[in-house]
């Protein structure tokens, strides 16, 4: 009986057109368990600059979820779906622009790629007009491999160095290759995502102590990224190879082609109001 009802439901008409458009923007953070991403992850300057591009500047949401989990986890994509659904419903959003950073791009791509996993996903996908994925870790990072390796070859003793988060495990290069092949769309040879997924690619790191550009977003973070670049190709933002950032969807732009002074965006700077990135995003949400 269930199957019959289900079959008849499938025969029903699709949703009809909506009224006048209401545009909203969502900020989706990267790896980590955020409780105040507005202050801690994006910082107010970035969020408040971007939302000035909205007709109603109150139509924004800063997501706070636990992205230390696998992307499909109820605390990750489930939490994201809940907060996006509430935002869409509360504000009457009909056009949603999603801005993700780093692993947030994977969580959003999970929703776009797996619309049947959760009954809230289809409405989110239908309302989404595009994802602006800032430095997405679409093909993982060798840095995840570096910290995970060494943990497992003495499994008889348990996890030698303490268990890394599922999000770090997931972002190993070989793991993301498998998830891209089996579970996610938008990479080479795979079906396209149902909505545009456009990446902003960070291509280098400046950390010279005499260069004021090195201080945007935090000097300490940029010093670390200069070291982590050793694991990466000549084109990288210190955390991700450019190839990983551009592996899914389409490349919107590579940092130096659009930023003020043709400055590169390190992985830390691509979530901050550095080198007019905020202005570029602000102008985009007007479209």
């Amino acid at each position: 009986m269930r199957n019959l009802v289900y079959g008849l439901l499938l025969a029903a008409a699709s949703p009809c057109a909506m009224a006048a458009d209401v545009t909203g923007v969502a900020f989706v953070h990267g790896t980590g368990n955020q409780t105040n991403a507005y202050q801690d992850y994006w910082q107010p300057t970035m969020v408040n600059s971007v939302r000035q591009g909205l007709a109603n500047t109150a139509n924004y949401v800063v997501i706070n979820c636990d992205f230390d989990q696998y992307m499909w986890d109820s605390r990750a994509a489930g939490c994201l779906a809940g907060q996006l659904s509430s935002f869409i419903s509360a504000k009457g959003i009909t056009r949603l622009v999603v801005i993700t950073h780093s692993n947030g791009g994977n969580v959003m791509r999970w929703i776009l790629s797996n619309p049947t996993y959760d009954s809230r996903y289809p409405n989110i996908i239908n309302k989404t007009v595009r994802v602006n994925a800032l430095a997405p870790s679409s093909a993982g990072t060798p840095l995840a491999d570096a910290v995970i390796n060494g943990n497992v070859f003495e499994s008889a003793l348990g996890w030698l160095l303490g268990y890394k988060s599922d999000a770090v495990r997931m972002q190993q290069v070989s793991w993301m290759a498998s998830y891209n092949a089996n579970n996610l769309y938008g990479t080479s040879g795979r079906p396209a995502l149902p909505k545009p997924f456009r990446s902003v690619v960070g291509s280098d790191v400046d950390s010279a102590i005499w260069d004021s550009d090195s201080y945007c977003g935090g000097y300490t973070e940029n010093v670390g990224l200069e070291t982590t670049q050793n694991w990466l190709n000549s084109c990288s933002d210190g955390f991700l190879n450019c190839t990983s950032q551009s592996a899914a969807g389409s490349v919107w732009f590579t940092d130096k082609n659009r930023t003020a002074g043709a400055e590169p965006l390190s992985h830390n700077q691509s979530r901050r109001a550095c080198f007019t990135l905020d202005v570029i995003l602000r102008n985009d949400v007007k479209l």
């Binding site: 025969a11 996908i125 910290v147 499994s155 599922d166 089996n182 070291t227």
Partner: protein, 386 residues
Amino acid sequence: MRTLLFTALAAVSFTALATQPLLPAGGSDQVPQRVVSLPAPTGQFERAPVSFSWALDPAAELAEPPPHLAESREYWQTVDGAQLRKGVDIDLSAPGALIRVSPARGAGKLTPADLQLASNGRASRLERTASDAELQAAGMDVEAGTAMVRVGRENARGRYQLRIPNATGRYVVHVFEPDSTVVLKARANRNHAVVGDTVTVDIALSDAGRTIAGNAEALLVTPDGNSQPVAVTRARDGRLSASVRLPAIATTTPGLWELQVFASGDGLQRDARTAFAVAQPTARFKGNHAFNTQLLRVALPVEAGSPGRYEARGTLYASGPDRVLHPVAQAHVAAWFEPGDGLLVLDFDRGHLPAGHGAPFEVRQLELHDQTRMTPLEIRGRGARF
């Protein structure tokens, strides 16, 4: 009763009352030969049926991605503090190596100044890199008390001794040579498998493209961290490979399985890992389908051995004006099933059909996924033609 319902459903929605067999499975397809009974995993899972489809660009060229080729210029070694106090041999092949020493739980924390490197009794210059706090701030999830240094570029290829006088407890020494020409490559022969299948990893250790006659070991690691050694064999042409028949371990830990490779040659070590999804056959397509060409719906009977949420997905190919099949739409459908027979209906939207495209159609990359256990169960490159 279930058969009757399926027939009734077909009468409502499908003009082709007779079900047809799915297209014969191809060589790289994954088709479970049985189903198993497992309890439903704990966790929050959707129970409502959901269906979704979207248009694809008919000019897109779709193909199953080849398995990932892992390339390594690094290795990891577990050592005791006593060994480090005495000195641990490290063989380097290129200037500019990075050495990272991470304390295990309870081991003494280190700073870069604690690390000493020597060759033939002479101290080698080490350069400071980022601190543990700076690496953590950059997003590299190193342990607190991790020390990392770069070996001065004037130091030549050869054997060195790493000494840490204040080491206490256990550590992992990680040596990474970004500029080395010595590379270990490993590639599994598949992205996905069902327990009982055999996975083979090809292994190649080379120096500037020249094969090194080295040795290798392999380890199969399940998502919950259990491992078993896997024999590495050398073919007559010298190629190394590791093959393993996947044991029927019903791990409930989500994640991928790995075949890790540890190789050595010319006195140098390299580690690499491959990852792939492994499924317990909790459900499978029953091998037939019914279709409605007008509504572009494809009904797929499913046999579920275990309770869970199962999803069918497929890519609709339509014949274009050039009489060649092009991808035009993607459809997914999922529902919760108890053990027994069920039905999933892929509902492609005729509105997604580009002008000039029509029958004959094919559903390619027809897949059945277990959404509760996060595994691809059945994958058919060509599923149905109508």
